[in-house]
Symmetry: C2
């Protein structure tokens, strides 16, 4: 096992694009709300403000979740995985986390090659 896995020092392993994957779950019931990416600045802003910030790969810019909709995610707890290339936020969600207006982005269940809205 690598040294980083037992480290007490934060040392995020950003990928070739400068990103780590970030997952947000509802602190109240554990439901997976959304998955997105953070660069170093997004992670820092998240820590500083207590509100989830991400790097938008499609728009090529930093954004705060809820910056236009008001549906912010307040971070209750922040965790990293063994190899420090993924971040888990337990959050309190103010409104829907998904841009489609749904509570979670994972609103469809896979059933063979079909998706079910349940």
């Amino acid at each position: 096992m690598g040294e980083d896995e037992e480290s007490r020092a934060l040392n995020l392993k950003f990928d070739a694009n400068g990103l780590v994957t970030a997952v947000a779950t509802d602190a109240a019931d554990g439901g997976l709300l959304m998955l997105a990416h953070m660069n170093a600045e997004a992670f820092q802003r998240t820590q500083e403000t207590g509100r989830a910030h991400f790097w938008s790969r499609s728009r090529g810019r930093l954004w705060m979740k809820g910056e236009t909709s008001g549906n912010v995610l307040t971070v209750i707890e922040l965790r990293v995985d063994c190899d420090q290339d993924a971040v888990w936020m337990k959050v309190k969600a103010y409104g829907p986390a998904c841009h489609t207006g749904r509570r979670s982005c994972f609103y469809r269940r896979v059933d063979g090659d079909r998706l079910r809205f349940d």
Copy 2:
């Protein structure tokens, strides 16, 4: 909003490396166990066998979680996100999900620039 977001057809959006991100949570208590990646074959094998398969970017090969350790993840429910580039598996975990022997890969909490094992 895009058409895919309301689609009932499975149409995973693999990235330039042919991968989607896959998250496994414990079906019993919602805890986040691990985050990894799947190519089309890993996803297909997961569906066919009901056991989580991934693509290892570091080893450059398909693997079944638990293939050597026996700590398999049995998929209880499989979901996709709005833009179909991320997969959520609710699983029953047979043994630790993390290769360090811990139940979850997210065994450290971020506290400023320090990590706490709690």
